[in-house]
């Protein structure tokens, strides 16, 4: 039996929780192209001033590598399950007959079952501290919406979530959980916003997209004087998510491990960036793989160019890999990966070749989730299944290499069981 010390299934040591977030922007090899306005008659960048807390805006454009995590947020991080476990996946190694090591950082262990809570907490608390009575956001698979509703409740403010209609219909449990946490959940496109009404007038059965839901949430926040919560893509969100990588760094040190390969899944890129960036700084030779859905092949078939963050083109244009802001992806099993673009910092590093990308089709992802569940006992989220599938493929192709693979499993899939019935 392997030594328990070397497995580290969990750790209650709150000293592992970082007291600063890490911002990759000052350490990038090139300068990030700034967000731009493409409409001469209105400033979508100035719009951010109206809908985001000032603290978030400052973090969005800061040059500081490290930002102090407010003490209240650090305490809540401990309350919601941080540090999350980093463990050696002996079961998976055995199932694959892999001669190296597979380590897993498991964000599914937070109270909401995913990494999303890491940024929801500070954003809700900053909104409250700046006098806002409530927050508004969008959600695809429901993980971000869940995190938002919990964070708002913990901060003592209201929350409203525009949920992509296809997920709203497929995942009634997600809606119920968000309502249990005190949120108001609306399927998007909805009749509650001008943009939603316009989309519905063209197609009453529109399945919705994350881009449409973002547009509705921003419009609603503006009209009702509420703060908008950023779920992914933006620098500040990746900065908050750096708790994943910073914790992993300390846990690897405790385990005495050095990763050769880092793997995560990419929707907008927040769990991936938060996991990879702090580790990339320390483990400079590590090979990095960003796993995406074959149905949303943003890196392999998208273009690296300026594009809108949202379908309604309310938010600024940013330079990223994109399939087009009006791209309507298939109704795939992993709603969190249906976004048309990816964070600018990740896009830049994919473009430069520092980060490799890997498209994973549904059948491989489902198989990987089954292998992981049967070998490790963990039902991972469909989004995380892409990272696991990429890790399994890498391990199978490099069985004899004896490398150490570290994969970030961004959430659990206990509310996504319907994907196994397809």
């Amino acid at each position: 039996m392997p030594s328990m010390r070397k497995i580290m299934l969990s750790s209650q040591d709150t000293a592992i929780i970082p007291n600063e977030w890490y911002n990759v922007v000052p350490d990038l090899p090139r300068q990030l192209p700034p967000p731009v306005d493409r409409d001469e008659n209105k400033s979508s960048i100035q719009l951010l001033n109206q809908i985001l807390p000032k603290a978030i805006l400052k973090q969005e454009f800061t040059f500081q590598k490290y930002t102090r995590i407010p003490e209240e947020v650090q305490e809540i991080y401990a309350q919601i399950g941080r540090p999350t476990p980093l463990f050696r996946a002996h079961g998976l190694e055995k199932a694959l007959d892999y001669h190296g090591k597979i380590l897993v950082k498991y964000e599914g262990a937070t109270i909401t079952g995913s990494h999303k809570i890491n940024t929801a907490i500070p954003q809700a608390f900053y909104a409250r501290d700046e006098g806002s009575s409530g927050v508004v956001t969008e959600t695809g698979a429901g993980q971000w919406g869940t995190a938002t509703t919990v964070a708002a409740s913990l901060a003592g403010i209201t929350s409203k979530v525009f949920m992509v209609r296809v997920s709203f219909n497929q995942k009634p449990l997600r809606k119920q959980i968000m309502e249990l946490y005190g949120g108001e959940i609306v399927p998007s496109p909805s009749p509650e916003t001008e943009f939603g009404r316009r989309v519905l007038s063209q197609n009453p059965d529109h399945p919705g997209t994350l881009g449409i839901a973002i547009s509705e949430a921003v419009e609603y926040a503006l009209e009702h004087g509420l703060k908008y919560m950023l779920g992914s893509v933006f620098n500040s969100v990746l900065t908050h998510q750096s708790v994943i990588g910073l914790e992993s760094e300390k846990q690897l040190e405790i385990l005495g491990e050095t990763p050769d390969v880092l793997i995560g899944c990419v929707g907008g890129g927040s769990n991936f960036g938060g996991f990879v960036f702090p580790l990339m700084k320390k483990f400079k030779d590590a090979r990095i793989y960003a796993s995406t859905a074959s149905e949303v092949p943003k890196f392999s078939k998208g273009e690296y160019k300026y594009d809108y963050v949202d379908t309604a083109k309310i938010l600024p244009s940013i330079k990223m890999y994109t399939l087009g802001s009006d791209y309507v992806p298939e109704k795939i099993y992993a709603g969190g990966l249906r976004y048309h673009g990816a964070a600018p910092s990740i896009s830049m590093l994919v473009n430069s070749g520092r980060i490799n990308s890997s498209d994973m089709p549904e059948d491989k992802v489902i198989d990987a989730l089954k292998v992981f569940a049967r070998s490790q006992g963990i039902v991972a989220a469909p989004e995380s299944g892409h990272a696991i599938a990429t890790a399994i493929e890498y391990a199978r192709e490099n069985r004899e290499q004896k490398e150490t693979i570290l994969v970030n499993v961004s959430g659990h899939g206990l509310l996504d069981m319907s994907i196994f019935q397809r």
Binding site: Q31, P34, K54, L57, K58, F61
Partner: protein
């Protein structure tokens, strides 16, 4: 200055006059002009009396060109590095080492955007990274109080664009002159 209004001969006339009075003039041009005309464009600016050039989109949109282009420009006249809070430390170090001129530092990531920032943090960062180099601040300077604060924190000067352009657009030359005079007064007092 918007490319559509750029008249090199006309501007060159003023640059020539200013140079004869010992005042240096710097051209601000987007990369597309250099991309299409090459170094001939840069040489024509030098012949017109300009002392250097600022290319604000070089490091963001054409970073792969900078290592070759900056030394070429430096052989003709000054290349003025343009940095802002989004410029990585490594890029500031490498571009600074290729040049010897003053540095233009944007307080905001883009002109005309009012984003919250801590001026003391911003100025100490760049002054610390390019120790000893002359740094002039711009992008988002709107008031005389800001000018006073910026000069008090160790900046060598300020660049004011959008505000003065707005005065010109409105035909408000009095406000233009008044602001210009106030800046000069603050600058002289700071010295």
């Amino acid at each position: 200055m918007a490319l559509k209004n750029f008249k090199p001969d006309h501007l060159g006339e003023f640059a020539d006059i200013l140079e004869s009075k010992g005042i240096s003039t710097y051209a601000l041009s987007y990369y597309s002009r250099i991309g299409s005309e090459g170094l001939d464009f840069v040489k024509s600016l030098r012949e017109d009396g300009f002392s250097g050039i600022i290319v604000p989109d070089l490091l963001t949109d054409n970073p792969e060109k900078s290592d070759r282009l900056i030394p070429e420009i430096e052989k003709i006249f000054r290349f003025i590095p343009f940095f802002n809070p989004a410029t990585p430390d490594g890029v500031i170090h490498s571009v600074s080492s290729m040049t010897s001129s003053w540095i233009y530092y944007g307080l905001q990531p883009s002109t005309g955007i009012d984003m919250p920032y801590d001026l003391e943090e911003v100025s100490s960062r760049i002054l610390g990274l390019v120790h000893g180099r002359e740094v002039n601040f711009g992008f988002g300077i709107r008031t005389i109080e800001q000018v006073k604060e910026i000069l008090g924190l160790g900046s060598s000067g300020v660049a004011i664009g959008s505000l003065l352009v707005q005065y010109l657009k409105n035909g408000d030359l009095n406000s233009f002159r008044k602001f210009q005079g106030s800046v000069k007064e603050v600058y002289l007092n700071a010295e």
